[in-house]
Amino acid sequence: MSAAPDRPDGCGPTGAVVVPCPVVEVRRFADWSLVWIEAPAVARAARPGQFVMLAVPGAAFALRRPLSLHRVHGDRVALLIERRGEGTRRLAELEAGAEIELSGPLGNGFDIATTCSALLVAGGIGVAPLQFLADELRARRIPVWTFVGLRGKRQLPLLTVLDLPRQTVATEDGERGIHGTVIEALDASPAAAEAVEKGAEVFGCGPLPMLVALRDWASMHHLIGYGSLEAHMACGTGACHGCVVATTRGYLRVCADGPVLPLQVIGERTLAARGTP
């Protein structure tokens, strides 16, 4: 992989496969769809934290939508899609048997080559790429703790498709698990203390304010941390410089230098960017 966060000028990922692939299984529930796609070339090359660009079915002209690889089994990849706007609504309505165009795998992914233990922290749909990461860590017999933060009752159905090791749930409305944000849960939970004790690496995905809080939490506990970021994208391959985020290392392309970046590079300018929710 040529794209690394410390090489902001590096060329984008190469070898991205662009293919029409059959949808083999769809599980629709509440605001989400779990979509399994037969995509051998993508599945074989995939690493946790990478994403695909999915063509919006039935749209006359539309940019592709970036979606994380949620799971990989053999020749199949799963995407966990939250309905937000028109594009994700159409994607969530996919039926088994349909063909879908996708390019990928794209982005750098999580670097777990030297990881000895890992603390995974998700905010809402940010849990999508962390499932694949957890699966991969588990296969390598690396100890994993996971924390899933949800807004509240409406997001609880997400938990039904997850299979995360040593999972702690936090809800902001107190419907399930620890009452509070996922960061408050980290402060309160003995599982997090255990991870800190082991010097776990922290891997997070969720809204930017959550990642900022996670950056501060990780640094307070002297843990190395990484976060997977979001940005509006066009090419998804590093070519257009459209998806940059402002970091302490300057502008980095989420699609090619990321989406996974060290939490430390998230700075004041990252949050200040207009249009960021």
Partner: protein
């Protein structure tokens, strides 16, 4: 393409295998092709606009989708001409000619980039490099406050820039026009009279989108440039107007997503057709457009593109 219609076209002295080229800033052979230069679906490669000094570009967000289009405000992020030159060997394997897109905050900056590039190409043992066919002067980027807009929108300034650049190179010299003007013909005439070998049009249309929640400008630069199918009928009209007024070959662009739409550009007088937004939305679009163009000619029993060029402009 053997046996099919003849798709070769000529931009001045430059012969191209077919008319489909990439719009500057929307395609990166190093990032996209991945499987070697032979898979590049264009007959010519135009890298992202390069400036004299490095530019960090605009604050994010820089790009988003609009109805039938894309709005962007990248802000000419590029590593500057020295880093661009240092990187040229990486393109050496490219089997298609390269046209260097040149930008600048002042006319002198454009000239310095062309001069520097010519020096490098003339230097003995300059190292590996792709075939540099010429320069496209991007006098049209609407995103840089102090940048090209004033030159592209001011026929006199454009005339002076092209006149000054002309003696610096024997290679192809192209002016890429901004559509953000009342009369597209005036700058086109000025560029052609000053010695441009060809004219590219159009760049993006200055536009605005709001964040639906905050009702504030969505892009970090506030305004951006609109491209894609939304602008195609306007781009087509501008290509037609310029084709009726100048004699140099045109590179038409703006929202082309199919072979038929490329053919329409050619019917309005374009010699080559550049594709930008369509490639961003679908990396396989350029190859598809080329196939469709060939099929369109065959279906109309046309032997080549000369039979179509400008047909929309005739009285009868």
């Amino acid at each position: 393409m053997t046996g099919g219609p003849d798709l070769r076209v000529r931009l001045g002295a430059l012969e191209l295998a077919h008319p489909i080229i990439n719009a500057s800033g929307t395609y990166d052979v190093l990032a996209v092709a991945g499987h070697g230069p032979s898979t590049v679906p264009f007959s010519c490669y135009v890298p992202k606009t390069v400036t004299l000094e490095p530019r960090t570009g605009n604050p994010p967000p820089r790009i988003t989708e609009t109805p039938s289009g894309i709005i962007n405000a990248i802000g000419l992020e590029n590593p500057g001409i020295e880093a661009f030159i240092a990187d040229l060997p990486r393109l050496a394997g490219l089997r298609i000619p390269v046209i260097i897109s040149v930008g600048g905050a002042r006319p002198a900056d454009y000239l310095a980039v062309v001069r520097r590039m010519e020096e490098r190409l003339a230097a003995a043992g300059a190292g590996r490099s792709p075939a540099i066919a010429g320069y496209e002067l991007n006098v049209s980027c609407p995103n840089v406050a102090a940048g090209g807009l004033s030159i592209g929108a001011d026929p006199e300034a454009l005339r002076q820039l092209v006149s000054a650049a002309r003696p610096l190179t024997a290679r192809l010299l192209i002016a890429k026009l901004t559509p953000n003007v009342t009369d597209i013909v005036a700058p086109a005439r000025a560029a052609a009279e000053a010695g441009a070998d060809a004219i590219s049009l159009v760049n993006t249309f200055k536009a605005l989108v709001l964040d639906p929640v905050s009702l504030r400008p969505f892009l970090g630069n506030r305004t951006g440039g609109l491209c894609g199918p939304a602008i195609r009928p306007i781009a087509l009209r501008m290509v037609a107007e310029v084709a009726m007024s100048v004699d140099v070959p045109l590179i038409g662009m703006g929202g082309v997503t199919s072979g038929l739409e490329a053919l329409e550009m050619i019917a309005c007088g374009a010699t080559a057709v550049a594709v930008g937004a369509a490639t961003l939305a679908d990396p396989r679009a350029p190859a598809r457009i080329l196939e469709q163009l060939s099929a369109e000619l065959a279906a109309r029993s046309l032997a080549g593109l000369d039979d179509v060029r400008g047909t929309a402009l005739r009285d009868s």
